[in-house]
């Protein structure tokens, strides 16, 4: 009898998951850009990315029963040139769920005054001459840009109507997987027909909105 109990106890301890039944760890990994140099196929322009930064915020998990778990204080500044791992502890109920987040900082947060952490205005993602966060920052060189040193500068922001450039994305975790790996497909983005019609965008506008939207469509989940 005792031996049976011991066997059962040992077996159970080997199969009980490493987390408690109350919460589960979900990860979102933003891959580093593997390549900084690209070629635009239709005109052979050469593009080099020198900076890529963007905000991820308001992460929430949506269950198929329509319940939603909002991760509190989820503001992250991602450096696209480096690997970033975000690990979140969420209620177990949301084990199989869709994750939704914003690319950028929402309007309400923009109205909150001086903030800290990822939202610190000294991180180079806040406009000083006109209030507001820069949602996506992409800088580099494009041989077809007729700017000084062929530089292109996309500081995509704007949180007020009609130039709110906040974007929303959602991704499904693969079954039984708790990790989501995301990458920006820069190659596809630069090969859009009008990706470098403008080489400088540094204030809220419909152009900034369009670029932010376009850019967000190329954030993709890796299929591995």
């Amino acid at each position: 009898m005792i031996r049976a109990l011991v066997i059962i106890a040992t077996f159970s301890s080997l199969t009980i998951p490493a987390f408690t039944q109350d919460s589960i760890s979900k990860r979102i990994t933003f891959s580093a850009l593997k390549e900084l140099n690209y070629v635009i196929k239709n005109d052979s322009s050469i593009v080099q990315i020198t900076a890529l930064k963007f905000y991820i915020s308001n992460i929430c998990f949506k269950h198929k029963d329509s319940s939603i778990y909002k991760v509190p204080n989820s503001f992250y500044l991602i450096d696209g040139l480096k690997l970033t791992d975000i690990e979140l502890k969420i209620p177990f109920h949301y084990k199989e769920s869709i994750v939704e987040f914003c690319i950028g900082i929402d309007s309400a947060t923009n109205y909150e005054g001086a903030l800290s952490g990822a939202l610190d205005p000294s991180l180079g993602m806040y406009w000083t001459w006109q209030s507001g966060y820069i949602n996506i920052k992409i800088e580099g060189v494009c041989s077809s840009c007729e700017t000084r040193n062929n530089e292109f500068t996309f500081h995509l922001g704007g949180f007020q109507h009609p130039y709110n450039s906040l974007q929303k994305k959602e991704f499904k975790y693969r079954k039984n997987k708790n990790t989501l790996v995301l990458t920006f497909d820069i190659n596809q983005w630069i090969n859009q027909s009008d990706s470098f019609d403008d080489c400088t965008i540094m204030s809220p506008s419909s152009k900034a909105q369009n670029y932010a939207f376009l850019f967000s469509t190329f954030l993709k989940a890796n299929n591995d």
């Binding site: 005054g113 001086a114 001459w129 130039y163």
Partner: protein, 348 residues
């Protein structure tokens, strides 16, 4: 059946009205102050933060070459406005495009700058700190200098129980000080509280003011914080389109934020580019200088019908907005003692 209370109220009310009519005193309805607009997370007001904000406000260390402080353009002797200069200037004598506005009653202000570029008091300081014609610096450099100063480390420790100086702490401390700049004790305010009376001329001016000016310069803040085109001819050199610079909306072309008229006696020159030196020039503009255009405020479709006497009366009323308690308040001036000493409970 009329009950005793109603009868009593009716009789008292009638007596007051009859007495007032006898004295030919008009009973004005004064607007109460609206609730403050400013709110901030993690912002607990206290004297150590106000002190720190005051030090920062008066310290030219914040500018690139350490020559210009906030007080350089927001002078404590002139209701925190920039007088004697039509356009404000910054480091290396660079001249900007606008006249620095007066600072008062900022807690009630929802939007900042002549074109409304800034929407929260905490973030306002970033604009002049980084503008090349003003303080020409970066927030990162400001933080670097403050963190390298044992003087500021001590004051930040006193205020935040941590000597690490962050953007949030710098900006919130500045806000704390700026929020103390409240002007609500002018003769006008005393009249509104019933402890003073307008002179006959001031009274006439007040009535004219309510008729012709109060739709934008709304009491008791003397601004409704809206953006208006008040008929100023665009300066061809400055080419300042005002609000449209921010919204990109052509309907906002040549619109500028309505400033407060409180302490107007002390905040010359007037308008966003300081083009008028006297209040008489301002009123003359409204009677004979309006330049029409598609975004002109409706109030100016016809010039204001003011006689010379009317203008004098209005100016007499405007002088009642001067608040000596605000203008000469020692709590707002250069903190000489603070700059000379470390805080009392400094951690060594």
């Amino acid at each position: 059946m009329i009950n005793k209370m109603t009868l009593y109220t009716f009789l008292t009310g009638s007596i007051i009205i009859l007495l007032a009519l006898k004295e030919k005193v008009l009973i004005h309805q004064f607007e109460p102050w609206p609730p403050p607009y400013y709110s901030s997370n993690n912002s607990t007001k206290d004297s150590t933060k106000i002190e720190l904000g005051k030090l920062l406000f008066y310290d030219p260390l914040l500018s690139f070459d350490s020559t210009i402080s906030c007080a350089s353009c927001h002078s404590p002797y002139n209701a925190f406005a920039h007088t004697d200069h039509s356009l404000s200037h910054g480091i290396k004598d660079r001249i900007g495009k606008r006249n620095a506005p007066a600072l008062m009653n900022l807690a009630w202000q929802p939007i900042f700058m002549w074109d409304g570029a800034i929407h929260h008091l905490d973030m306002q300081a970033l604009a002049p700190i980084t503008h090349p014609d003003e303080m020409g610096n970066t927030l990162e450099e400001v933080l670097k200098r403050l963190n390298a100063s044992s003087f500021y480390q001590a004051y930040f420790y006193q205020a935040y129980k941590d000597s690490l100086i962050t953007s949030e702490r710098v900006l919130k401390s500045l806000s704390q000080f700026m929020l103390t700049l409240v002007s609500s004790d002018s003769k006008y305010d005393q009249v509104s509280k019933g402890v003073a009376v307008f002179s006959e001329q001031e009274e006439k001016g007040y009535i004219l003011f309510k008729q012709h000016c109060a739709s934008c310069h709304t009491e008791p803040l003397f601004t409704n914080h809206s953006f208006q085109n008040n008929g100023l001819i665009k300066d061809s050199e400055l080419n300042d389109l005002g609000r449209m610079t921010i919204t990109l909306n052509s309907l906002d072309s040549l619109k500028f934020k309505v400033p407060t008229l409180r302490n107007i006696e002390f905040t010359y020159p007037y308008m966003h580019d300081g083009r008028f030196k006297t209040l008489t020039e301002v009123l003359n503009h409204y009677t004979s200088g309006i330049s029409s255009g598609p975004t002109l405020a409706k109030q100016f479709e016809r010039p204001l019908p003011l006689s010379s006497n009317d203008k004098v009366d209005i100016i007499a009323f405007l002088l009642t907005l001067t608040d000596q308690n605000f203008l000469f308040n020692k709590n707002f001036t250069f903190p000489r003692t603070l700059f000379l000493n470390l805080p009392k409970d400094v951690k060594k």
